[in-house]
């Protein structure tokens, strides 16, 4: 079953002669346990799609379903609760709070959601441990490398059993080895049942996804077909 579903999403900014169609009639389903990448040039509507999927912005028309529930039927507080409990966000520039240590950054969303500080810290430490960052837990963002900061940001996005991960160019500022580590973490989270959407212009990043959607001028113009098994692909490579 789809955990995230966008049906007929249109987003128009401005009106009259300054009207801009950021998204036009976009349909998208993301199953639990799957990773979908959305590729497109700057200005194609990728980031708008992500903010609408994450309930940070309302569409002009169309409906977004998260976990089967239509966002249009939720109050402002209901959406805020959904965001805290079910949706994790990862951005290119990490968005960690500079005055908090790694473990405090990860535990913050749980505490904001009413989890006790002790329990939140325990869950945050476990998440950091999963990502190989337990020894960096008390370090502040400026004491971490770019790759480590993004791993902390992903830990923060998935902590507490969130079910939807939305990532905007999550490895844009990283070298290719660190970018690969970030995608491995996101993929591992999907294998544990999370639904994830990564928007990017980078094909290397997108190629980690189960399905790649191509966006142009606010419309979905194409998508990839399912891949073959690695064994079959290797066996069918042309012989030299």
């Amino acid at each position: 079953m789809s955990y995230l579903e966008l049906r007929g999403i249109t987003k128009i900014y401005g009106d009259g002669p300054t009207e801009v169609h950021a998204l036009s009639n976009v349909d998208l389903s993301v199953e639990a346990g799957s990773l979908v990448a959305v590729m497109g040039a700057s200005g194609s509507g990728k980031s708008t799609l992500l903010t609408i999927a994450g309930s940070l912005e309302d569409p002009t028309s169309g409906e977004v379903y998260v976990g089967g529930r239509p966002l249009s039927s939720m109050s402002r507080n209901g959406k805020a609760q959904l965001r805290r409990q079910s949706i994790g966000y990862v951005f290119q520039d990490y968005n960690l709070l500079a005055g908090l240590s790694a473990v405090e950054n990860v535990s913050l969303p749980l505490e904001l959601d009413g989890v006790s500080a002790r329990k939140a810290q325990k869950s945050a430490l476990e998440a950091l441990e999963d990502f190989g960052l337990d020894e960096r837990a008390t370090h502040y963002p400026d004491q971490l490398s770019g790759g480590e900061r993004q791993r902390v940001a992903i830990a923060r996005a998935v902590v507490g059993g969130r079910q939807l991960l939305l990532a905007d160019e999550p490895s844009g500022a990283l070298d290719s080895t660190n970018a690969e580590s970030v995608m491995r973490l996101i993929l591992a989270a999907c294998h544990r049942g999370l639904a994830a959407v990564v928007v990017t212009h980078d094909a290397q990043l997108a190629s980690w996804a189960d399905r790649v959607i191509f966006l142009r001028d606010g419309r979905i113009v194409d998508q990839t077909l399912p891949t073959e098994s690695p064994e079959k692909f290797l066996a069918e490579l042309p012989k030299s």
């Binding site: 290719s176 690969e180 212009h201 094909a203 190629s207 990839t224 891949t227 073959e228 690695p230 490579l237």
Partner: protein, 195 residues
């Protein structure tokens, strides 16, 4: 790819026989470039003829016949490693040619054509990335081969993205000056080994 030099490299580690060379070659390239055994023996015969390897005279012809590298072979291998491949002139890339042809044809939606090729390349990249997913089978050589292929395909996709961007900009600039054509550089001195 130079099978000749790959075999010399394997023999620089010590004497080996033909079947073993084939197995080691395939294992070290992550089985991405399979070789047929006939190719291995033909190459070994040529290397022997050129004095770059010597065979073990005592053994019979066949899979158990051993080979070792000569001093000339070791020098040849070292020179090959240090000679940059010839990247001096642009290759006749079929994808580039298809897009250039499409630009001249009336009624062809070049953006749509670019997307056909982009999707195919992304699907290929997904297949190569799948090979990296299972870290238990990802030894260093295999990872490097897969990375090289991913970077190659990625560079083609970036070029297609640039085609889209340039066409969009060209369509938007109504008063654009007539394009100036520049001759392609003539092929420069070859630096590569012509193997």
């Amino acid at each position: 790819m130079s099978i000749r030099h790959a075999l010399l490299a394997l023999l620089s580690e010590g004497p080996k026989y033909g079947l073993q060379l084939r197995q080691e070659f395939e294992a070290r390239t992550g089985e991405v470039w399979p070789l047929n055994v006939g190719q291995v023996y033909t190459t070994l015969q040529r290397l022997e003829r050129d004095g770059l390897v010597e065979s073990d005279d005592s053994a019979d012809e066949g899979p158990q016949k051993g080979f070792h590298i000569t001093e000339e072979g070791a020098t040849e291998l070292d020179e090959w490693l240090r000679t940059p491949p010839d990247f001096s002139s642009p290759p006749r890339d079929e994808l580039v040619i298809k897009v250039l042809v499409a630009l001249e044809l009336p009624g062809v939606d070049v953006h749509e054509l670019v997307q056909v090729h982009r999707r195919y390349l992304v699907e290929l990249m997904q297949q190569w990335t799948r090979l990296k997913e299972d870290e238990s089978r990802l030894d260093l050589n295999f990872a490097l081969v897969v990375d090289a292929e991913l970077f190659r395909l990625d560079s083609l996709i970036r070029w297609l993205d640039t085609v889209d961007g340039r066409l969009k900009r060209a369509a938007a600039s109504v008063d654009a000056p007539a394009p100036q054509s520049f001759p392609l550089p003539k092929a420069r001195r070859k630096v590569g080994n012509p193997q």
